[in-house]
């Protein structure tokens, strides 16, 4: 049945139109900024404004709050297109959509009406604060506490490696509300305004890549939030974080696919131009082999990511496995493809004159954040083994 096959493997007219719009905007206005963003290490407010004013930050939010109500695949298409030119810029959309997910998944109507319009318009950015210095992969061992006092919570503790907390107006933050509860029921989820007294950014990391994306250490010293800022019920935090990752990990996979594609594009063009031994190096079979393997790895990662988006959007009970599979494969593909892109460009690839060394530095993070590759493997294995019972 040709129609079914077409819809399974090809993008719809709407998806293509939105993807192409993001692609055009990116190549005209973001790509020229990418090298400078990396060199300066400064958050690109101009790119953020561009994404906001062109409704790109509105993609993941329901239309009734001013969003576009795009499906997961369409959001991932946008992230991928931006990441092709600039991984830092793509992270603006990826983090914003990640951090808003708990609100969209488990927030009350009142909470959504209060916060989502400003998020959809891009007036306010939102960040995601789960990780702590001593609680990365082992997130549920966190120690930041939210102590109930009347109709408020008082939050004390610290967070580490929080992307964009220093430029966001809101943070979706996880804290322990019942230290005696079983491991996965200790935490709750809160929305914390970054201008709340006691909330401070104490440090920004100097990183290998995505250098324009500020990665913050946070200190929370008696930060008070009303009960109305808690998302979901007490103790639901960990489960909510896991449900969030089911929908956010494909976004990182898409970022990785975009980075890989960008690197492949540069390498393929270079191979057609660089002349050695009297001909373009693209005519040498060893180079052709490298490029072909890069293309295969990128397309495979892309196909898996798009499929995962479709499955998750359709409500598969296996969402965790799909999310982890695509993030695992795409992250490794990005690292491999960018490394090989530097190889194709040879000595020139190692210099800042060409973008591939930045792309290689940027790619590494896709194997680390939103769950390391090792954690992704555990999620996949758990799903496989559970099926056998």
């Amino acid at each position: 049945m040709p129609d079914q096959a077409a819809s399974a493997f090809r993008l719809s007219g709407d998806q293509l139109a939105l993807r192409d719009a993001v692609r055009d905007l990116t190549s005209a206005r973001i790509a020229p900024r990418a090298a400078e963003i990396d060199r300066s290490g400064e958050f690109p407010w101009d790119v953020k404004e561009l994404l906001a004013s062109h409704d790109i930050l509105a993609l993941p939010f329901p239309e009734r709050y001013g969003g576009i109500g795009a499906d997961l695949l369409t959001l991932c298409l946008a992230i991928e297109e931006i990441a092709r030119a600039c991984a830092t810029s793509s992270l603006i959309l990826a983090v914003h959509s990640l951090a808003a997910l708990p609100l969209l998944l488990a927030g009350t109507e009142e909470q959504r009406e209060r916060w989502v319009p400003d998020l959809a318009s891009g007036r306010t950015l939102i960040a995601f604060a789960l990780t702590e210095a001593a609680a990365g992969s082992d997130a549920s061992s966190m120690s930041t506490r939210a102590r109930r006092e009347g109709d408020e919570y008082v939050i004390d503790g610290s967070k580490r490696f929080i992307s964009h907390a220093s430029v966001a107006g809101l943070v979706t933050l996880f804290a322990v509300t019942d230290g005696d509860a079983p491991r996965h029921r200790r935490m709750s989820c809160f929305v914390v305004p970054t201008d709340a007294p006691g909330f401070a950014v104490t440090r920004l990391e100097h990183k290998m890549g995505i250098r324009g994306s500020p990665t913050a250490e946070l200190s929370l010293d008696g930060v008070r939030v009303p009960e109305a800022n808690r998302i979901g019920v007490e103790g639901e935090g960990f489960a909510l974080a896991m449900r969030t990752f089911e929908r956010s990990r494909p976004g990182i996979a898409a970022q990785a696919v975009g980075i890989a594609q960008g690197a492949l594009d540069v390498a393929a063009r270079y191979a057609g131009e660089r002349v050695q031994f009297g001909k373009p190096i693209g005519e040498l079979q060893l180079v052709q082999g490298l490029l072909a393997d890069m293309d295969a790895a990128t397309e495979a990662a892309r196909a898996l990511t798009y499929r995962a988006c479709a499955e998750i959007e359709a409500g598969t009970p296996d969402a965790a496995r799909w999310a982890s599979l695509c993030k695992l494969v795409a992250g490794d593909a990005a690292m491999r493809v960018t490394t090989d892109a530097v190889q194709v460009l040879g000595g020139y690839g190692y210099t800042a004159d060409f973008p591939v060394e930045r792309m290689m530095r940027d790619a590494k993070i896709t194997q680390l954040y939103e769950g390391t590759q090792q954690i992704q493997r555990l999620v996949v294995a758990r799903s496989l083994l559970r099926r056998r019972e």
Binding site: L18, A21, H54, D55, I68, R269, E273, V275, Y348
Partner: protein, 258 residues
Amino acid sequence: MRIVVLMKPVPDTTGQERLSAEFRLDRSTPAVVNANDEYALEAALKLTEAHGGDVTLLTMAPPQAPETMRKALAMGAQRGVLISDPALAGSCTLSTARVLAAALAQLEFDLVIAGADTSDGGGGIVPAGVAAILGLAFLSNAGSIEPLDGTVRVQRLGPTGYELLEAPLPALVVATQALGEPRYPSLKGIMGARSREIVTHTLADLGLADSAIGGAAATTRVLEARPPAARAATRVIRDSAPVAAREIADFLASRRII
């Protein structure tokens, strides 16, 4: 303000333009909005944002034009009018001006804004032809457009500065790039464009079915098209930009130019 923008879909110049045996342009490849028309449209959108009103696109093109017109609608135009007829293939600029003028005669407008010329034909005279046929004031090389009560004031850019012109509405203004960079459509604009109306008219709808118009009545004919003759003793540098830059710098330095 009711503004009509003349918009032509043209072949994407980043592709290879192909000519048929009769030296007609191959228009089967995906088209883009003529670049100068984007500046005209941007100017129109800015005017309606400041003064109220809306923008209509007017296009004479083959039947697949709506695909390209949607890109212009996504920038913010409200509706499109397409004049499409098999008889129009191979039209010269005179026919084009007559057709557009006939279409405009059926519309109500305060201002027509057009791009200076097209990247495919490059004639640059259709806007003047349209204005002449309709008896509209013709304000070319516009560096700024200011609507007043019943009139429009335009700075016409020239080599030594500009002239300030004022004309009664309705008038026709030819845009320049000085009017401002065209906006990229927002995603909401792209989605909104899908539901905006594009009306298609044939020559019969314009009352021109029996006129000497279109390809059969073309007043100009392309006799020949060839690339320029190759010049002797050229050196072509094909390396990538940083490497090529070094080679070029060395070349210039060896001739003591730098």
